[in-house]
């Protein structure tokens, strides 16, 4: 198994924290959209370009 790149960041590294927090929030919104489809406005407001599959 290939070794993963290890990235250690401090909580005060705002850029890195914002990067991961945005990804997590976007993925959470997308997962909800895929399961229920009831948050299309949230998806749009996050700037996620998504063709509504439902």
């Amino acid at each position: 198994m290939k070794k993963a790149i290890k990235i250690e960041i401090k909580p005060e590294n705002k850029k890195a924290v914002a990067f991961i927090e945005k990804i997590i929030a976007d993925k959470k919104a997308i997962r909800r959209f895929l399961s229920s489809g009831d948050n299309y406005d949230e998806i749009k407001s996050r700037g996620i370009k998504f063709v509504n599959p439902l």
Binding site: K6, I7, I9, K15, P53
Partner: protein, 168 residues
């Protein structure tokens, strides 16, 4: 696990896959667990990987708790990823759902990838981002081994990681 379940989970055949809609699939294990897997455009990492390359992500979820040792589940999921790359020269971003069990998910996904010869089909670059003990994120980018963008993808992934790390 009963003998028949063990035989079943050791089988090298992926489960029968049903298309729910474009880029979204479902399969049912012999223990009657329904898995849904979806690929979707994921522009949140554009810039992190490269502005010119299509970025997707994917998630899969069972509808109930299941036996993660069932090798057919991993085989089916990896076969769906292989199929995805047959039609897309894209970057696939995978983040282990950070619910406190992400290290287990990461281990399991890597095991599936290795035991199904993922290396024969695509390149997977893994990263672990740690903020503190409770905030640790496992993510990967995956792309076709023969991607015309392979070099650019790796270079921009690594340089973006360098941008993220703490500067002295």
């Amino acid at each position: 696990m009963t003998k028949s379940n063990q035989e079943e989970s050791n089988s090298s055949i992926p489960y029968k896959i049903e298309i729910v809609f474009e880029n979204s699939f479902r399969f049912t294990t012999s223990q009657d667990v329904n898995y849904k897997l979806s690929f979707y455009p994921f522009n949140s990492i554009i810039g992190f990987v490269n502005n010119q390359i299509p970025c997707f992500s994917f998630d899969f979820e069972p509808d109930k708790k299941t036996n993660s040792k069932n090798a057919r589940i991993g085989k089916t999921i990896i076969s769906l990823i292989i199929d995805f790359f047959k039609n897309n020269d894209a970057v696939l971003f995978y983040l282990c759902n950070p619910d406190g069990k992400q290290h287990v998910r990461n281990y399991l996904f890597n095991k599936w990838y290795d035991s199904n010869n993922g290396d024969n089909f695509f390149i997977k670059e893994d990263a672990i981002l740690t903020i503190d003990e409770t905030n640790r994120y496992y993510f990967s980018i995956i792309f076709r081994k023969d991607s015309k963008n392979a070099k650019v993808i790796i270079e921009s992934f690594k340089s973006s990681i360098n941008e993220l790390v703490d500067k002295p």
